[in-house]
């Protein structure tokens, strides 16, 4: 166990952890769906509405100044945290899904019929549909990196389908269904050598380890605040300035233009061009606070602690007869996707809930992965640094009971 990591005191930061579910203490193992929110982030939102709520930019009064400063300050925090070159390369969005749509829509007029897009076979819905919508317009071709038996991407096949027709390569950093960490360094490197642009979906990675975007040299990257101890309805899209400048915006509206008459519109500079309308101001500011919070704990500490949780949970769960873990590879985040022989995942989830344990069940918006394993869904327990060894013990014991009830 990592001694420098005081999980008990960290848990004090999360008001929801004192909640009872069916009279049992809440055991929250659905961190991959959304993270819980520390009190400093909640207070930050409260503070905003109590003290300086105001529309931002172009305001002449002090409140608007204060809100604008806080908003732009949050942009700088994202920039620093992910080691981004310039703050204008940080676009605030309503989340990962929105970010991806900005990129796919932006390229929809740039790509042509002969062009190809490569998507991994490990994707969340959000990563597939925008491209399917896009290729309806330009008839580009969508190609898929197949999975190996264990759920990892088949890199040999990736190299096979990559060609000079490939314009965009697109995948999640970590699979939400399995927790597998993809070899994005290698993928970015090979793709760049072939002249393809790479967009990485960091929705499932950013909360678990430190990410340096300049070092990765990735072209686009995105994550959602609500999986990073931040609030719902906000996320960011990073893009290299030169690329962002080439893309048309997804939405038109106030702030994203520098000049409007009825006959002509001139787009404003970055980042405004992509931030049409009044943004989620309190959300963005609280997102900045969440990043501060994660840095106070330290992502390296988080990574190490979560690794120990995963190891422990893995060893316990494997004691259970008939329990099968999917994507049980070396390089993964603290997430276990499993089934128990002859029992439906929905039944397991329903009964675990009665024990106070929140897991997700079903396809995890990743039907193609389920098809790959020939299953209908899994139980997904996703841990984070707010979880404990004791909770995993309780989980193990509850699973034993579930099994005896259901078989």
């Amino acid at each position: 166990m990592n001694l420098s990591f005081d999980v008990d005191s960290i848990r004090q930061d999360f008001p929801i952890l004192s909640k009872k579910i069916h009279n049992k203490p809440l055991v929250y193992f659905d961190n991959a769906a959304t993270s819980q929110t520390p009190v400093c982030v909640i207070d930050c939102i409260k503070d905003y509405y109590e003290k300086y709520n105001s529309n931002i930019h172009r305001g002449v009064h002090s409140l608007s100044d204060e809100a604008t400063n806080a908003y732009e300050n949050a942009r700088n925090k994202i920039k620093d945290h992910f080691n981004i070159n310039e703050s204008k390369e940080v676009i605030f969005t309503s989340g990962t899904t929105h970010s991806i749509n900005i990129v796919s829509n932006g390229f929809s007029k740039i790509l042509k019929r002969e062009d190809e897009i490569i998507v991994s076979g490990l994707e969340h819905h959000s990563n597939i549909v925008p491209w399917q919508m896009m290729i309806k317009n330009n008839e580009a071709k969508l190609r898929v990196i197949p999975l190996k038996d264990n759920g990892e991407l088949d890199m040999d096949e990736f190299k096979n389908i990559l060609s000079n027709k490939t314009k965009i390569v697109f995948l999640n950093h970590v699979s939400n269904a399995l927790g597998i960490i993809n070899p994005i360094e290698e993928i970015i490197d090979i793709s760049h050598k072939n002249g393809a642009i790479v967009l990485i979906d960091g929705a499932q990675s950013a909360a678990h380890f430190k990410i340096d975007l300049q070092k990765l040299d990735v072209d686009f990257f995105t994550a959602s605040a609500h999986k990073l101890c931040g609030p719902t309805g906000v996320g960011f899209l990073y893009g290299k300035e030169e690329l962002l400048s080439r893309l048309d915006p997804l939405m038109g509206g106030g702030e994203m233009i520098s000049d409007v008459t009825f006959s002509k519109t001139t787009y404003a500079d970055l980042p405004s061009k992509f931030e049409a309308g009044t943004p989620n101001i309190s959300g963005v500011i609280a997102f900045g606070k969440a990043i501060d919070y994660l840095n106070e704990i330290g992502l390296d500490n988080i990574e190490q602690y979560e690794k120990s949780l995963l190891e422990y949970a893995n060893s316990k769960l494997k004691e259970i007869d008939g329990l099968k873990i999917y994507g049980d590879t070396k390089n993964k985040t603290s997430l276990i996707s499993f089934n128990i022989d002859g029992i439906h995942s929905y039944d397991i989830g329903s009964i675990l809930d009665k024990f106070g344990i929140a897991v997700r069940t079903g396809q995890h918006c990743a039907q193609p992965i389920m098809d790959h394993f020939g299953i209908d869904g899994t139980v997904r327990a996703s841990f984070s640094f707010i979880n404990t060894i004791e909770e995993i013990d309780h989980f193990y014991e509850s699973l034993i009971k579930v099994k005896s009830m259901l078989s």
Binding site: I343, S345, D347, S350, K354, G362, G377, M405, L406
Partner: protein, 138 residues
């Protein structure tokens, strides 16, 4: 027995149980009573949307009453279907249309009524009513 009486019976049955474990064990028991459904009937058409586990519901009008057949992959869902069919099977469309689902709350299964798409109970009931409407027009 009227729908109301059938619902009362179920409420009475559930009153016996002290804790949720017993309730769920009973539901699991009930799942075994469900008349089995032919593979062909488990078609795309009979699949109820909005349930996390797959649920199929098939209906036929026989002598003015609706015959339901249903199944699910999940055992708890199956048990709940079994309760529903105990109540709604072999009823006239009108009986079904004038019914309600208050008893679910009374037997402590309210969580299954949630609009949350994971829980299919409200979708199932909607579909049962949908058949009743369709058949009342024929």
């Amino acid at each position: 027995m009227t729908i109301e009486n059938a619902q009362k019976d179920i409420i009475d049955n559930f009153l016996f149980f002290d804790d949720w474990t017993q309730k769920y064990e009973y539901i699991i028991e009930l799942s075994k009573d469900l008349e089995s459904m032919n593979k062909e009937l488990k078609s795309e058409d009979n699949l109820i949307k909005g349930c996390q586990s797959k649920v199929w519901l098939h209906a036929e009008l026989v002598d003015g009453k609706i015959n339901f057949l249903a199944d699910s992959e999940a055992i708890i869902t199956k048990g709940i279907i079994s309760i529903l069919l105990n109540i709604f099977n072999n009823r006239t469309p009108n009986e079904i249309l004038s019914s309600n689902m208050d008893f679910i709350e009374k037997i402590g299964l309210k969580e299954h009524l949630s609009p949350n798409r994971a829980n299919g109970l409200s979708s199932m009931y909607k579909q049962i009513k949908f058949y009743a409407i369709a058949f009342s027009k024929t």
